[in-house]
């Protein structure tokens, strides 16, 4: 059994990448079914099983799958579009507003028009109860179970389906939270429950309450999804290993995902950066920007040899205190709805029409104008060849929606309105790229732009134009890049334990015991994932700080240093990392260092599917021309007649001059008039600014 399937459940499409030893990988895409995303998963598997050439019964196909790795953006989308669970919070009396106050920050200090984010739990469902632990975790006042009961009664009346419990100082003692949790479990057995001391047993109240509430907010969404998915997969005959993507770029078992759904927030795109590097690496680039535009959201990530990590994330200004890849997400996608704000300005998103009703052009009853509707009006999409012709689009419906929602209020023609929607969307996305490059001091022009997502390559030329990025790579699998990345990544488990001790006075036996226990835990996880002993690796990190500091520095330590009880090696590694990050260290002063956390990453190396290189063909692409049509060209602010190519017929070495449209089964690529395009050995379309053909000299010569 070597059949592996990566499945990326997005807000609009569900993507599949199927690899089997000795076979060409299969790319497949079906419309998501947001009311029950597992329907689309099964529909996709069923369609793949029935594909011409390898047709077999679903049961045979599903039964032969060894591993399914899947990522979901259902939790991200639920948060961005405010479609999460009706939530309640039980917290310590007196601090119920911490969630909404967000420590009293206004991110834009000089902008008096900037308003606070609406909290995920409204104030009337944030209930403070009596009971108090001191800073050491000792009980000062017993928990008021009556008040917990009163909160539960309110939640029942309000139809609350997800409850969070977060008490002051619970990081030091979980007892009160456990008491409250017991009561909630009894009184509201069907409610989803997140308990802060189980999810994130670390100090800092705001970070913990925010993370806990996010966990609950998306918990029921993910739980319902996984329940149905597992049942349906089992019914279909799947008996292999199911793994779920995490936001740290690794995967986890479904049971962990149920407990910690917050780990799946921003997890769908987490597979993208690694996969993007694969395609950029084919041209010897070690760094790249990866953008992914789906139906609902747009993600941008920076890869510098490996995907850039951050210790905590923010989703729509809500804090998640969990380590993850540094991916910037905004609510911009094919389904993003165009609207006019109070000041009369055209805005796009973050509300999305999703898959159902979807854009007006889908003909499922959507009446609001979306990015996809604009793309159709502008000629980027062929109404007869969307999703390879399996899903005809309704051009009059798209025009009507744009006329009513955007054109008439602004006094524009439908085409002018559509062009405006396109520009605003691209500008939003260019800002997203600025967040991860220019704002962090990187010049975006130095990075190739790897373009993913079904809707990405229609917009990437204008994004590249705005940022002056000369080079884009549209992978053959661009519409399902994350599904590819899921099978390209290793299994990764981040384990953490708090262990507070001065480095010069550490109980080495206790430390060794803890590290051993973490290694055992990691081993057990990898065993459950059927990883052979020689493919397992363990990496130790310590979080340390100078005595009495507030924040810790995380740095790698060889496991041998613990065995050898080598304090000096650990100290010098800490001083060095501290100096690298902050410009100085207190090594010469021999300042005392304290350990706060032990982190172990257990990695299971997996066999990765190989991408086969194609043989070189000539530059002539005329065999792939399937017609021509009139398409909006932003450089000219006008429609131009241009050739339409069948992207699935383009071969290594074929060249296409812009402006042109390249249509594939799963995506459409717009080559604007300032770009040209050549197909590389992996089937990627490399778009290069006509002035910067020097960047692809070797590719044009056929040397690479």
């Amino acid at each position: 059994m070597t059949l592996k399937v990566g499945i990326d459940v997005g807000g609009t499409f569900t993507d599949f990448w199927v690899t089997e030893k000795g076979e060409e990988p299969v790319v497949h895409k079906v419309l998501s079914t947001p009311e029950d995303p597992s329907i689309a998963v099964l529909r996709g598997l069923s369609e793949i099983a029935g594909l011409a050439g390898s047709s077999r019964p679903l049961r045979t196909f599903a039964g032969s799958i060894e591993t399914i790795v899947h990522g979901t953006t259902v939790t991200t989308n639920a948060t961005l579009t405010r479609a999460g669970a009706c939530s309640g919070l039980i917290t310590t009396a007196g601090v119920r507003d911490a969630l909404e106050m967000r420590r009293g920050i206004r991110e834009e200090q000089y902008n008096n028009r900037y308003t606070n984010v609406v909290p995920l739990v409204p104030r009337y469902c944030r209930i403070g109860v009596g009971g108090r632990l001191d800073r050491e975790g000792r009980e000062i006042e017993p928990l008021s179970l009556d008040e917990v009961q009163a909160a539960v009664d309110l939640f029942k009346a309000e139809g609350v389906e997800a409850v969070s419990i977060c008490f002051m100082n619970a990081f030091a003692n979980a007892h009160h939270e456990q008491q409250a949790a017991d009561l909630v479990r009894q009184a509201l057995p069907d409610a989803y429950l997140s308990v802060s001391s189980e999810l994130l047993p670390s100090i800092r109240f705001y970070e913990r309450v925010s993370t806990t509430v996010l966990n609950s907010y998306v918990g029921p969404i993910l739980e319902r999804y996984l329940d149905r998915l597992q049942v349906r997969l089992a019914e279909a005959g799947f008996a292999g290993l199911l793994l779920v993507m995490q936001s740290n770029g690794g995967v986890m078992a479904p049971d962990i995902a149920r407990e910690k759904p917050a780990l799946t927030l921003l997890s769908g795109p987490a597979a993208g950066p690694g996969a993007g590097l694969l395609y950029a690496g084919a041209h010897d680039w070690k760094n790249c920007i990866v953008i992914d535009m789906g139906g609902t959201s747009f993600e941008a990530a920076l890869v510098r040899e490996e995907p850039v990590m951050v210790n905590e994330g923010v989703i729509d200004r809500h804090r998640i205190a969990l380590p993850m890849l540094g991916i910037h997400t905004i609510g911009a996608g094919g389904g993003s709805i165009g609207w006019i704000d109070q000041g009369g300005l055209l805005r796009m998103g973050p509300q999305s029409a999703g898959a159902n009703p979807g854009p007006a052009a889908y003909g499922h009853g959507g009446r609001q104008p979306t990015t996809t509707d604009a793309n159709l009006v502008l000629g980027y999409l062929d109404p007869e060849y969307f999703a390879g012709g399996r899903m005809p689009l309704d051009l009059p419906a798209a025009r009507d929606a744009i006329a009513a929602g955007v054109a008439e209020p602004l006094g524009l023609s439908v085409v002018e309105a559509a062009a405006g929607m396109y520009r605003v969307t691209c500008n939003n996305m260019a800002q997203g790229v600025r967040e991860i490059t220019i704002k962090r001091g990187y010049d975006p022009r130095e990075f190739p732009l790897v373009v993913a997502g079904g809707a990405g390559p229609i917009h990437s030329c204008l994004i590249a134009d705005e940022l002056d990025i000369p080079l884009q790579i549209v992978p053959r699998e661009s519409s399902i890049l994350c599904a590819v990345g899921m099978l390209m990544g290793d299994l990764r488990h981040d384990l953490v334990r708090t262990f507070v001790a001065r480095l010069d006075d550490v109980d080495w036996a206790a430390l060794q015991g803890l590290v051993d226990a973490l290694c055992e835990e990691g081993t057990a996880l990898l065993e459950a994932e059927r990883i052979a002993p020689d493919a397992r690796e363990f990496f130790l990190k310590l979080d340390c700080r100078y005595l009495k500091q507030y924040h810790e520095v995380s740095f790698p330590v060889p496991l041998q240093a613990i065995t050898d009880r080598d304090q000096a090696v650990i100290a010098s590694a800490f001083h060095a990392e501290y100096n690298r990050l902050y410009g100085y260290s207190l090594e010469q002063e021999a300042a005392a260092v304290e350990i706060i956390n032990i982190r172990l990453q257990a990695v299971g190396r997996v066999e990765k599917p190989e991408l086969n290189a194609e043989i070189r063909h000539g530059a002539d692409a005329s065999h792939a021309i399937k017609g021509e049509r009139s398409v909006y060209v932003f450089e000219d602010d006008a429609f131009r007649q241009m050739s339409v190519y069948d992207g699935d017929k383009l071969q290594h070495g074929n060249r296409v001059a812009g402006p042109a449209i390249i249509e594939k089964q799963t995506t459409a690529v717009f080559v604007s008039s300032s770009f040209d395009c050549i197909c590389d050995s992996l089937g990627s379309l490399v778009l290069y600014s006509r002035q910067r053909a020097d960047l692809v000299t070797e590719l044009l010569r056929g040397d690479s």
Partner: protein
């Protein structure tokens, strides 16, 4: 001469910003005093070889606009005697410092042996010597009773620590963490130095000069364009300061005369009341910072902050006024003259740019507790950031922002995390919540204030209060109502109540004392009767506006009001 590349120009602007942001992160992650790493009461910046501002990260803007003037002063002071590896400290308010506690660290940046610029970090230190622990001495009449003065002094020279100078400075400061925090600021300067040097290696010095000048020009033009939109004329406004710390019932007026002439704007404070004989006095740079930050809130927030931004702005503050005290007056309160200064500016400009001003913001009333943590025997200092931040003023089309505090911080200063507050002090938090009905009513309401209560955990605790806003609330505009007043109240274990004055020093507060504070709401804007009814109903349900206030102030039909669950007043 190199040409300006428009895309590279944007990259320079963002890189400068990313450098000062990274410096800011460095301080936040490495400092020990919660004033720096939790509340972010510091500013990081980059300056050119002449001391012109290239970019700043202004966590607390009131510190921000003294860094470039001091940099220029240091350049003049040391002349040619500036070398790679030097580190210079400065806090002196009589050589352009803004406040004694705000100690700045400057590091010159060299490229190929040539002085190219400076990195600097100014932060509020937990102690700065003087008569009172923590630095706020309401009884002071001269600077020496407030703080150790640090005129420009090299603590490192060509990379070598000047042990004697270091020893002298820290022999005069009570808390050890101040040494560590200044090291943290030095580290951040090194981060800035390395990043700017990398930039110079990449793009070259010529490119740096050309684009730096272009950035100054761009910011200047943007500010000029903003000023053009204000009608030419002369406008007057007044803001009031209550109590000088010495004489009960005293009041002082800040009077501004604003003249707009095409592309220039002048803020003239010549009619402002004279300086006080206490510590309620500004310095030129603290007052000018207040003027600049108040004005910046009325214009496009996306203008890059650099020297060019300041060029169209003239500020006249005669020495001897309450905004610019003469040597050797006490001045520690000077930063906190920002709110009444902002009030004066808003009142002057509201009639001519009604859609760009806010109503009044809640004024600062702060308390600082110090003592020994009985569990560890270690000293602590806590500035009550979470308690002092009230609501912002509403503006046309936008409600005030809840709990972001006085206008001089504008949401840049964070509350202590509650659990870290209990780790770093012996106090126990009882309550920190929005204060219902605190927002000034209006078609757009003011931001909400907060109520803060905790139990003091140290014996012989010293409490210093400084601020205002307990006599005059944040004002409403164009029919909007006022916010609520600030209050601090102590209830001793024996039941005795003490209400500190707004500038006060209270010693020997016993453990077990209940601390209570209200930070008031911001002023409302426009007629409350025109407030969106659905929004109002939701606010009643959430318990932030009471049914009674909804009826009385907002004229909501009583059938539409039902009080929210968990609503406690």
């Amino acid at each position: 001469m190199k040409q300006v590349d428009p895309v590279l120009l944007a990259v320079y602007a963002r890189i400068f910003k990313s450098i000062t942001d990274e410096m800011s992160l460095s301080v936040q992650m490495t400092a020990r005093s919660p004033i720096l790493c939790e509340a972010k009461d510091f500013v990081t910046g980059l300056y050119d070889a002449e001391g012109n501002m290239l970019e700043q990260t202004e966590n607390l803007p009131i510190l921000a606009f003294s860094l470039a003037p001091v940099c220029k002063y240091i350049i003049e002071y040391f002349g040619d005697d500036v070398h790679e590896g030097d580190v210079i400290f400065h806090n002196d308010v009589f050589s352009l410092g803004n406040q004694n506690n705000d100690v700045a660290v400057y590091k010159p940046i060299f490229h190929d042996g040539e002085l190219i610029g400076w990195s600097a970090v100014k932060g509020h230190q937990a102690d700065i010597g003087g008569a009172v622990r923590g630095g706020y001495n309401p009884n002071a009449t001269e600077v020496w009773q407030e703080a150790l003065r640090i005129p420009p002094v090299k603590v490192y020279e060509k990379g070598q620590l000047r042990k004697d100078v270091w020893g002298l400075i820290f022999a005069n400061i009570r808390l050890d963490i101040v040494q560590h925090d200044l090291r943290s600021q030095m580290g951040a300067c090194t981060v800035g130095e390395r990043r700017l040097q990398a930039l110079l290696c990449k793009y070259g010095v010529d490119s740096f000069f050309v684009h730096k000048a272009a950035l100054f020009d761009a910011s200047r033009k943007m500010v000029e364009k903003e000023i053009e939109q204000i009608p030419n004329g002369n406008y007057h406004g007044t803001g009031r300061v209550y109590f000088d710390g010495h004489h009960e019932g005293t009041q002082f007026d800040i009077r501004v005369s604003i003249t707009v002439t095409e592309q220039r704007i002048t803020f003239d404070y010549s009619e402002t009341d004279p300086q006080t004989d206490g510590f309620v006095n500004g310095t030129f740079t603290s007052s000018a910072s207040a003027t600049v930050l108040s004005f910046l809130q009325m214009i496009n927030p996306d203008i890059p902050h650099n020297e060019g931004m300041l060029q169209p702005i003239d500020i006249i503050i005669p020495e001897g006024t309450i905004l610019n005290a003469s040597y050797p007056k006490a001045t520690t309160f000077g930063n906190h003259l920002c709110p009444p200064n902002a009030d004066a500016i808003i009142r002057a400009l509201a009639p001519v740019i009604p859609d760009r001003v806010t109503a009044g913001w809640n004024n600062l009333l702060c308390s600082l507790t110090t003592g020994l943590d009985p569990a560890t025997g270690e000293p602590y200092v806590d500035i009550g950031f979470m308690g002092l931040k009230g609501g912002s003023g509403a503006m046309h089309g936008t409600d005030g922002y809840d709990h972001i505090g006085m206008i001089d911080a504008s949401g840049g200063v964070l509350d202590q995390d509650y659990e870290m507050f209990e780790q770093m002090t012996p106090h126990r938090l009882i309550r920190h919540e929005y204060q219902p009905d605190s927002a000034g009513p209006g078609q757009w309401r003011g931001g909400l204030g907060v109520v803060t209560e905790f139990v003091i955990g140290s014996h012989d605790t010293q409490l210093v209060t400084f601020g205002d806003g307990d006599f005059e609330p944040a004002f409403g505009l164009f029919g909007g109502g006022d916010g609520t007043l600030n209050t601090i109240r102590l209830t001793y274990p024996d039941g005795r109540e003490v209400i500190p004055r707004n500038k006060d020093l209270i010693k020997n507060v016993p453990a077990g004392t209940h601390y209570f504070q209200l930070a008031g709401g911001g002023g409302g804007y426009g007629d409350p009767a025109r407030r969106d009814r659905d929004l109002l109903t939701e606010e009643i349900r959430n318990g932030i506006i009471s049914a009674a206030q909804a009826q009385q102030a907002y004229h909501l039909d009583s059938s539409q009001t039902q009080s929210g669950a968990g609503d406690e007043l």
